[in-house]
Assembly symmetry: D2
Homo-oligomer: 349 residues x 4
């Protein structure tokens, strides 16, 4: 931690800062400049937070040196986290990017869901996704079929051999949801729902954690930290677009660079969701490719058997034939990249 004191700070102010830090096990050094005095604190402690120090009289600003996420950081764990499923599917590290596809909401029509699932299986996808509990901006929007939808998911997963993913919106639904699906998802709007993060952290179920609409990368990794801190290391990050000043042509701005940035600072796998990231069907394929080429460990896409009649997110869902074409091209790309990557690492070692 680096503490910059106000111009008018007194020696007593400075001493108080030093005392607090040293009582908490930090080593300190003080440099009195012409205008500003700077105190440096060394130590890897969590007993005193930067905010606590900032509250002391005469402190202008506290800058941190080490990233505040610890378990999620490469500083603590160099090698990539790989999450492996009972059927052998793996996410992260040098594994081929996975595909997670399905309708925004699970609807009444089971045959429709199965049609999507079959297309997913046929094109080599690993996961079926679909919403049972839906977060909706307006109370007048469709809110999800809940347990009935979970049953459909499980059945479609079993019939096709796909792993299943659904969103959990509230800690109290977690036991029910975990009975039905292989992976839970925490949505963008819940990225700082700390009760939910904790509840998920107390289980070992793999979690797809979506970046919030205005989460900084650091806050995003701190949300993962909340889960990991409770004991669950199986966190899969998901870039799904952030809010910007321009929503005229796309719902959000996909921060594609966040993928290599997060790969540098964290060992966790990260996937992209171009459907929510753009909100436009015609942008799903290019943005999926953009995510994969910069190193994403997977792609999540909304696919619907009849988008014109979807209960939600029809505009951004791929109809099945278009989805199959997109997957063909994505598979070509991922295979090529995977080949380059694994050959490369083989040559290196």
């Amino acid at each position: 931690m680096i503490i910059i004191m106000e111009r008018g700070s007194t020696p007593e102010n400075r001493q108080k800062v030093i005392d607090l830090l040293e009582q908490n096990g930090f080593n300190t050094r003080i440099n009195v400049g012409d205008i500003y005095t700077v105190i440096e604190a060394f130590g890897d402690k969590t007993t005193v937070t930067p905010g606590r120090v900032a509250a002391l009289e005469g402190v202008r600003e506290v800058k941190i040196i080490r990233e505040p996420f610890r378990l999620a950081s490469r500083d603590r764990k160099e090698e990539d986290t790989v999450i492996e499923f009972p059927n052998g599917v793996k996410i992260g590290g040098n594994n081929k990017p996975v595909s997670i596809v399905g309708p925004c909401s699970i609807e009444e029509d089971y045959e429709g869901l199965l049609k999507v699932a079959a297309a997913a299986k046929e094109t080599g996808c690993e996961f079926l996704r679909g919403g049972a509990f839906k977060p909706r901006t307006s109370p007048y929007d469709f809110q999800g079929h809940e347990e009935k939808a979970l049953k459909y998911m499980k059945k479609a997963g079993e019939e096709t051999g796909l792993l299943t993913v659904t969103e959990v919106m509230d800690a109290s639904d977690l036991p029910l949801i975990c009975d039905y699906v292989d992976v839970v998802q925490i949505g963008a709007r819940n990225v700082q729902n700390f009760k939910l993060l904790k509840a998920v952290g107390k289980r070992s179920v793999p979690v797809i954690l979506k970046r919030g609409l205005c989460s900084t990368i650091r806050e995003f990794l701190l949300a993962a930290e909340h889960i990991m801190y409770q004991g669950n290391p199986n966190v899969i990050l998901c870039e799904r677009g952030i809010r910007s000043f321009d929503d005229k042509y796309t719902r959000n701005v996909m921060d594609i660079a966040s993928i290599p940035v997060i790969k540098k600072y964290s060992h966790l796998p990260i996937i992209v969701d171009p459907s929510h990231g753009t909100g436009q069907r015609y942008l799903v394929e290019p943005m999926a490719k953009a995510g994969i080429i910069v190193g994403a460990d997977g792609v999540m896409m909304e696919v619907h058997h009849d988008p014109e009649n979807a209960s939600s997110d029809g505009k951004q869902s791929l109809p099945v034939p278009m989805f199959k074409d997109v997957m063909k091209r994505l598979n070509t790309l991922t295979e090529r990249l995977h080949y380059e990557k694994t050959c490369l690492s083989a040559n290196v070692s």
Copy 2:
């Protein structure tokens, strides 16, 4: 709703849009332009959402005419909502702005809390606020004393005659919290925690609903709509700053103009929170005044008996003596404005 079709849209595309709208009770009109075709839909229906129409083939964009929040809108209810408490305190309408003050977190030291509460009472504040369950960005931060804190709140409220406010982070904590306090608060990070909004909507407890860090005004009012839609009309909005590209000198940017904007579009009361809105002690007074002068129905401020040792948010908390000074000046301002407002309306009528 106004539907703009793509340049290349077909007559069949257009017919499908019209059919969907008419089946749902809308009247439609179509205007085929040189380049774009526009379909207008009239009717006050909620059975078809704009997103549903946007998903149809050939639709470029759907623009809404009426605001999607209905219960919260002045279109439905002209007069200001006023929330009245058993002790006669009122929020909203032509009533004098209220003051809601207290520490960020309720701490071990009950005497400290009481000191703040006494100063609040003495300076004419109506509400004591304090956190029992704390949402924290990092798992290494202090998380709150939970029920013990609620007991302290209740006791301090009773000893001073102040009404009490605390934040609820999860629907499951709601019954417990409602046993202890007069008003519940939903924090910025939970503004789209729809389970929580629903749960709070099913009670009649007054709710302070904070604007999310990246909530648009429309989304903010839709969050209020979720609560009202369940039957609870007692929603108090709270502007507490939004996220911008510049967080160097202030935590957030307070959108002061949102207060008169919301007053124009909604009948709900709205207060300001300059402590979270700025994150800086020296900005609390000016920004409280800015909020009040543009018409806010109250102000919420963090006050601590010993900010240098606060468990959280010390940097932005007012120490008690400074708080008393600030309140003196705020009271002068609110009285003057209240006098102008009520005299003015007396003269008008």
Copy 3:
């Protein structure tokens, strides 16, 4: 400057950093931590920029301690800058806030301009503003009457005794403009037009410098620094709203808190422009008041004799009768605040 080295940085990397800093007259100190190594550099030099140091191999991040704006900083000049005009009008310090009003564009109709100017004079305003050269987002919008408009401005100023302000968009127009008006304005879109900043900096004409739509406070003060660095100390800052994720109800978000923030870090005067800051006529009065109550040294408002037929910005312009009412209330407020402020300082001294 504080330099944080990458985890994998070598002793050679560190030495290079230290050498560069010491060659440029900084004193340095190095602290080798468990994970990160930190180098501190002391000295008030401008020969080495943070970017230059950041480019060295093995440097993770460079944090600055002192603000990069120097001439604009209170670190260098404690007392408020006051700009005084030949007719005795003063901006800044403990002086009463000034009012700068007029149409967005100067139009064909001189009588219309004069009507506005007369109302301005009558209500105690000090400055008449109006555009002669107009920056417009679309080439299809009205672009200004140039020199003819300047002549109108000068004439209206002389007839009423008001000082005059107009925007300069290009360095080459500056000599012409300075022949006609008392103050030049640099618009939000030109806040980083460095040629223009330099040209204005080489004269002594007072400059109203508007904050850019996405200028951070630091960048805003650095733009002022460009002007001051050339020798012109007469800079008046103007907060006029920044871009946010929500432009549905207001054009921009006015960062009202920037006023007390800038007052803390800089000695320059700062005014507010609620017309551009909100883009809505009904918000001009409340946001003008908000600006003044937090300490703005003036307010700039668009006023038009016939806003329904204005060439530009009619939506946000006040018609003359409404403007007079607004000014009456603003005058009451500024007088009261001025009285409090000057009595207070009198009591203190």
Copy 4:
């Protein structure tokens, strides 16, 4: 145009809107709803702007149907614009993406520049870029070597056979700059410097127009429209990152999706600049690839013979050996994509 009237608007208000529109050649239709009245205006006119209509009494909001950029729009010109240079190099359409590389600033050391230029030529790049006039946030930063730098550029271009690009910051420098280079660049900070846009629009020199830090896509295309409206159709757009709420790990957020969006709405070529888009050397390669895979017509990268001693932007500049490696991989990618694209279009036709 679609005009939504205020709830309380009068028949007179509506008539005024209709009159204004019809006088300007629009056809209108009015629909009086329960709450809101909507007026539709048909016609492709530029004599009345939406802002002009919005200023009329009783108008709540004006929504546009057709994009306000006309010359830049695919509505007017379906086929891609291709810019061809005398030496046969082409940008846009189905041509292979070009590479534009070089140092941020042209420095004293000509041999250094030549080293970069030679590496560019060797790896198949088409353009050498470098700054002669530098826009710098702080007056204490290096400002460019001006004409001397232009001479170096020209010489290096001639020695290697590369086309040359440099930034123009002010209309008055344009004749000089055009004597030396093949392409002029308008920087992000000047995207709404309308004098400069006009001046460039009056020549036929190809222009690289960078998106502003907070330009919406619509504003960006309107800036291009300013150039085209003066008669210069040779505009090359450049996505170089926009400002977001998170600048901790990257300078800007690259809006990769803007590339396919702009391709849908405009016929102009668009390139990406991952150096400025990210500000980090390690992100240049992945983000260049992301841009290319979504359809960019070229990539611009900063390369320096000695980034540790660069006058500016060293942190984001590639050293020559790294640049050569990156180019090798980019060439593989562009060739593969070009092959797929041209085969595909061959098959289709």
